[in-house]
Assembly symmetry: C2
Homo-oligomer: 364 residues x 2
């Protein structure tokens, strides 16, 4: 994958692709897109560079927003707090950041790093730590490679900052989550500082170009009056899971996460069947009415509006909505025992073992 320049217009595709790979969570990328477009218009375009173009001793830092997606929707970040977080981290480390990383190539966090890259003039590396969206800070490939989330710096829209030094990445999640809640529900973070040498193995590569391509496919197919599902499956190695209409939706907020279940009555070739999608911010498990697991975290369950072909977040799921669900295989690192311990069904409290896309198992 070679490097490329991102213009304000490219952000439409990137946000669209980020919403698709967000598997329903990670917040609506629209806000991040607004921030990033404004930043690019003010400071200039952003260079997305291939990992191999980064020097081994360059300090690479993921930037992201941490908090509840519902808060993010209501609270357009002031912008300065991401820079504040980045500068805070530089001050703690006594080193200059040389390149930015996208922590989460799904949802809101797929576009926020572009705003920071534009404002700082730093390149953004083509890749991320999840290859999708996940709800917690430690759920990144960096953790699998022994990279520490700390020191982490949080900055809020009021001018408060927090720096945590922690014994492991679960502790970072715990302490930073509380601070983000106190700060009004969301904060900008700079975390997982790593050298270029480490980044080259610890990062999931190419996911920024992937979400850009996904967004371009969705836009092109919609312009051609086609539903983008088939073209996306072909481009991403995915499979159409089900198509149907939501007939029931349960929601509850548990520990800051939007949990719930959507019941979907199948249509087209799935007519006569009933499915359930369970979500915790992201869509995590799809089961059929026999209790068989059709798709499961860490594989991606991506939702498109069956009529208009646009990605649907879990907040947008509502009674009567027609959806098409598409499954994408997770990055191979997530399917290892270490990966599954971090983001597999067991961590989220489901009783079944991981079932790779294509396989089946009875739900626990």
């Amino acid at each position: 994958m070679s490097s490329f320049t991102v213009t304000p217009d490219d952000l439409d595709a990137i946000a669209l692709g980020g919403a698709f790979l967000g598997t329903g969570g990670g917040g609506d990328p629209y806000i991040g897109k607004v921030m990033a477009k404004e930043a690019l218009a003010t400071y200039g375009n952003v260079e997305v560079v291939d990992a191999d173009e980064i020097d081994d001793d360059t300090l690479c830092v993921p930037v992201a927003m941490m908090g509840a997606p519902t808060v993010m929707i209501e609270k357009l970040p002031a912008g300065g707090e991401a820079l504040e977080a980045l500068r805070g981290l530089e001050s703690v480390l006594g080193r200059k950041v040389g390149a930015l990383i996208c922590a989460e190539a799904g949802g809101l966090n797929s576009t926020i790093p572009f705003a920071v890259a534009a404002a700082t003039g730093l390149p953004l590396i083509d890749g991320d730590g999840m290859g999708r969206a996940f709800p917690e800070l430690q759920m990144v490939s960096f953790t699998l490679h022994g990279v520490k989330a700390s020191p982490i710096v949080l900055a809020d829209d009021k001018g408060n900052t927090a720096v945590f030094g922690t014994i492991d990445n679960h502790w970072t999640e715990r302490l930073a989550r509380s601070a983000a809640v106190d700060m009004g529900g969301a904060a900008l973070i700079a975390t997982y500082p790593m050298d270029g040498r480490v980044m080259k193995t610890a990062m999931l590569r190419g996911t920024i170009s992937l979400i850009k391509r996904v967004g371009e496919i969705i836009a092109a197919e919609r312009r051609a009056m086609r539903h983008p599902g088939p073209a996306l499956c072909e481009a991403c190695g995915g499979q159409r899971l089900i198509r149907g209409r939501i007939v029931d939706i349960e929601r509850r907020t548990v520990g800051g996460f939007a949990r719930g279940k959507a019941t979907i009555r199948g249509s087209d070739e799935d007519a006569g069947q009933v499915f359930a999608v369970e979500f915790q911010n992201e869509m995590l498990v799809l089961t059929d009415d026999a209790g068989t697991v059709r798709a499961s975290t860490p594989d991606l369950i991506c939702a498109l509006d069956a009529d208009v072909g646009l990605p649907v977040t879990t907040e947008q799921l509502r009674f009567g909505l027609a959806v098409e669900l598409i499954g994408l295989p997770a990055d191979p690192q997530w399917r290892t025992p270490e990966g599954l311990a971090l983001v597999g069904p067991g961590y989220f409290g489901y009783g079944h073992d991981f079932v790779p896309l294509g396989g089946t198992a009875a739900a626990g």
Copy 2:
């Protein structure tokens, strides 16, 4: 007040006096005394110096434990975390700390700074920020003088640290409180960094010698088989409020604070009357059965066991216990409008105006 040396044996008196000025809160000084005795035995005695002996450009830093007293009782601090917090603050500021301050000359925090002083070899300045115990971080004379609580460093017994930079001292309380809760209920803190020049006006002077003298009086009177109440009133300018037996006690934990009310049936010259003491960690208001306020925060309501003459914390209040309550006037700074806004009855949710000791008002 001239400077003096504190030996391990002196810590008995200091802990006793700290328990008295703790007005029932701030945690049992016993744990802090154990820590401090061990530190003095290992590293040597501690020099308590008069504020005027400190250079104007010396960096002075209060050290304390932050958290729920009940947790502190169960969790003997590892000791190293106070040093960790202090070193963390030095690293953030890029300056060496030259002298330590006691944040709270009441409860547990009256003895913890001695452990840190012994381990670092730094002098401890004779004074504190409260002249008693109060439940929240911003409730110090430093706040009245415009000293910022941030940067504040927290360290826990597991090896986690947090640094907050905040827009005001209420925000520091809010963010640091959450982190202390996450860290297991309590953390060691280094906060309110200030130059010697600022310390000399912002600190309440002489309170370390005061608690030492109070403790020595309690010990001497008990050895002489006298109840220490009268001698303490004479030495501290206090007044005997009431004497009686606890006939009812209500407790609830609200927002991390141990709130409650003790009902006391008067004895001796108070026979025939019923009183109520309301507490939020510390004893804050004393009313009689006509609803008249007999004593109120920020003035000190100190409890002694009426039989054995030792200070009683609010956790130790129980049905049947005979107590003598002694009122001490708060430092004049606490009785100003600014002081009352920070620690007066209104801040704690009581409807009455502040009634200085000796005056009376109907409870709101």
